[in-house]
């Protein structure tokens, strides 16, 4: 379709204060027919109120089973620029830090072979290059890998792990989220690039219980930093905060465990009652810090609704020391995958498999002991499984 095609509905979205994706598409459309026809077909969707993208075909690079999402439009004669509109997922660096030279390298490659349009970043965490053709994929792969980049995951594989800024810029981090994320990414390259699981498996690492990566909602394995000892208190800074805020109402009064008291000058915490929720530390970071005995809570099962309903991850290890090279974590993940591989049905997420087979099956095969931290409360119903060994 020609560059003269009118896009009145999208033009409306160039107006307004918030940054406009339509302006971005138009910038790329000056250089790329693919971007121009993206604009045109998107206008068509705005008129028709339905998508014009078909089911993806299998496309990719040699030796990988994922990393490229095949996409074709349903009106290729009218919009030849987007007859193919494949997406390339580039594995982002942990913590999403970049140098300008690295970004320019990537953009030079992308302008040469693609639409020039990107997502910084996709939902799972990848740097997404939006819109290219099948015959360009090998060249994109060769040039990006030559610059030190690799593809992310897609399909029934380990999806690209992601994490928060962790210890790089956050005093709340009780684990080295970025190093853990990078280490797992490299330990599991085969599982990431060559889909061999029943379905997708996502890993997200958050440095503390504030969970900035939304790991509990968005990852099959949620790794969340915590500590076991006592909150560190700077008594002088407490007094400074007292002059700026109402500590009794905002901090003590909102503590979910009622583990603290403040007499106007001294804050006392009964750490035995504290559940490490982060509220007081969030409000008074200069005065309160997480303890020194640091580690992570490992949770399993988080996912979006498809197929049998959305899940939030639940605890399988209340506290795990996590120090490089993280072999204990790798070992646990491999055991979970083995159990899932053995029992999972096609397109059954690991959380749904726990639902179907029960926690015991997963715990026995991974060697994790049952502990009270795994449940909100023990069962109330008296329908209970006993194995022959239990009854012996």
């Amino acid at each position: 379709m020609s560059k003269d095609a009118k896009t009145p509905m999208l033009d409306e979205l160039e107006k307004g204060v918030w940054p406009s994706f339509v302006k971005e598409i138009k910038k790329s459309a000056k250089k790329s027919n693919t971007a121009q026809d993206l604009l045109n077909i998107l206008e068509r969707s705005y008129r028709d109120k339905v998508t014009h993208w078909k089911h993806g075909g299998i496309v990719g690079v040699l030796g990988y089973g994922g990393g490229v999402i095949g996409r074709y439009c349903d009106l290729p004669e009218e919009y030849p620029g987007v007859a193919h509109f494949h997406t390339v997922r580039i594995n982002q660096p942990a913590g999403f830090y970049y140098t300008t030279s690295a970004l320019r390298d990537l953009m030079d490659i992308w302008d040469k072979y693609g639409s020039g349009l990107t997502n910084f970043h996709g939902s799972t965490g990848d740097l997404v290059l939006l819109g290219t053709q099948t015959d360009k994929l090998e060249a994109i792969f060769a040039e990006t890998t030559a610059k030190g980049w690799d593809l992310g995951g897609s399909g029934s594989c380990l999806r690209t792990p992601s994490c928060c800024a962790g210890m790089s810029r956050c005093e709340f981090a009780s684990i080295d989220a970025m190093e853990i994320c990078d280490t797992l990414t490299h330990k599991f390259q085969d599982e990431l690039h060559r889909p061999a699981f029943p379905y997708k498996f996502k890993i997200k690492v958050s440095g503390c219980a504030n969970d900035c990566t939304a790991a509990v909602a968005r990852a099959d394995m949620s790794i969340i930093g915590t500590w076991r000892d006592t909150i560190r208190i700077d008594a002088a800074e407490i007094k400074n905060y007292a002059s700026k805020m109402d500590i009794n109402t905002e901090v003590v009064g909102m503590c979910p465990t009622k583990c603290m008291s403040f007499d106007g000058s001294v804050l006392k915490i009964n750490d035995k009652d504290c559940n490490r929720c982060m509220h007081c530390i969030n409000l008074m970071p200069k005065a309160l810090r997480p303890g020194k005995e640091k580690g992570a809570t490992i949770m399993l099962g988080g996912k979006a609704p498809i197929v049998t309903g959305a899940l939030m991850s639940w605890v399988i290890v209340p506290f795990m020391k996590l120090e490089a090279p993280y072999d204990n974590l790798e070992d646990l993940i491999r055991k979970l995958w083995e159990w899932w591989d053995d029992h999972g049905k096609n397109r059954e997420r690991i959380g749904e498999l726990v639902d179907r087979l029960g926690m015991r099956s997963m715990l026995e095969s991974t060697g994790l002991p049952p502990v009270p931290q795994m449940v909100k409360a023990p069962r109330s119903n008296p329908y209970v499984f006993w194995s022959a060994d239990d009854v012996k």
């Binding site: 994706f21 028709d48 140098t99 992308w110």
Partner: protein
């Protein structure tokens, strides 16, 4: 081809240490505390005494290579050639203290929005919609643009009682996993799939298509090498369409947007929680989705007026009670609000203790 470079595979992402600003590399793991200076700036202080300033700006997430080159130019000038993106798709620069104000001025001059830190509305995490996806029930970028054009002051200047995390997913697949957001904007279908009898025998494997349905709404139709849809059982999840392209359910009239509220992922004060249905359906009305924009704005305003300091959307509703939430917002309570899927019973109330007006 002689000039073809050697094939490199399985190298993973480059190690982040290549990209860290020197002050971050030096103080990695040593940060002691931080202060929010304004809605667009924060200061981190290290045990070494070093200070790190961060200035945050909004991004539409779907950006051109020109946009990336522009922020590179800014980063070269003000941030030592380093920058990062946040988990909510904002962009962060790391200027020296003396450069904080000049950087903010430069960003404003170029038309960028500085903000997103602390108690307000940060960027809306969202999916692809009609830009790139085959299963959406609505667009993503357009709805986000329309909503944030109306709510941008909560990003740049206005405060709210606590963070309000808004996320958008354009279908139930939820690439955006919006189900633990303060306000979740979710594209939904409302009509069952239409069987394309001409293609299904060639395109789809019938047993896996039948097995893909979580509600048992698909029955075999062996005579036609096809399937029958039991419309009364279909909940429009679209899982069958993912497995079988001959079962499309997108429909200009049937598709639209639902709004869920009260979720969060942070454990502060109480555990992470799921968002709950507030508005079952609003029509797709591009390019500005006025019904959706007004609904989100209304929800934010009712919350802003009544919630206590530090109280997230869901904590506010928990305090006032769902019955009063529906009264205060004027949203009608319908059959659709009462769950009838997998986890329904755990949402039923088992106490005669209510809050009456």
């Amino acid at each position: 081809m002689a000039d073809k470079p050697k094939r490199i595979t399985d190298i993973g992402a480059p190690h982040f240490s290549k990209f860290l600003p020197p002050v971050i590399a030096k103080n990695y793991g040593k940060w002691k505390y931080h202060e929010q200076i304004n809605k667009g700036t924060m200061k981190h202080v290290s045990e070494t005494g070093d200070e790190l300033y961060t200035v945050r700006m909004a991004s539409p997430r779907l950006v051109s290579s020109d946009f990336i080159r522009e922020i590179c130019e800014i980063a070269d000038k003000f941030s030592g050639g380093h920058l990062r993106f946040t988990t909510r798709n904002n962009i962060e620069f790391f200027p020296d203290k003396a450069q904080v104000d000049p950087l903010q001025a430069e960003l404003k001059k170029r038309g960028h929005l500085v903000g997103g830190i602390g108690y307000g509305i940060s960027n809306i995490v969202h999916t692809q919609g009609w830009i790139h996806c085959h299963t959406p029930a609505t667009d993503a970028s357009g709805v986000v643009k329309a909503v944030m054009d109306e709510l941008h002051e909560y990003f740049t200047t206005k405060n709210l009682p606590a963070r309000v995390r808004i996320a958008l997913a354009c279908c139930l697949n939820m690439c955006g996993a919006v189900h633990c957001s303060d306000i979740a904007i979710l594209g939904i279908h409302r009509k069952p799939p239409k069987v394309n009898e001409a293609t299904i025998a060639n395109q789809c494997e019938i047993p896996t298509t039948i097995a893909s349905c979580p509600t048992g709404a698909i029955a075999p139709n062996p005579a036609a090498k096809s399937v029958k849809i039991k419309s009364e059982r279909c909940m429009y999840c679209g899982n069958c369409y993912t497995m079988c392209p001959s079962l499309p359910l997108a429909d200009a009239h049937g598709d639209g947007i639902s709004i869920y509220v009260g979720g969060k992922v942070s454990n502060a004060r109480g555990p992470a929680r799921m968002s709950r249905l507030a508005i079952p359906f609003l029509p797709n009305n591009p390019p500005r989705w006025p019904e959706v924009v007004n609904a989100v704005k209304h929800l934010v305003e009712v919350y802003a007026k009544d919630a206590r300091k530090h109280e997230r959307f869901g904590e506010w509703i928990e305090r006032i009670g769902w019955e009063r939430f529906f009264t205060m917002t004027g949203i009608p309570f319908t059959y659709q609000h009462i769950d009838d899927f997998t986890f329904a019973r755990e949402t039923f109330r088992m106490t005669p203790t209510f809050k009456w007006e």
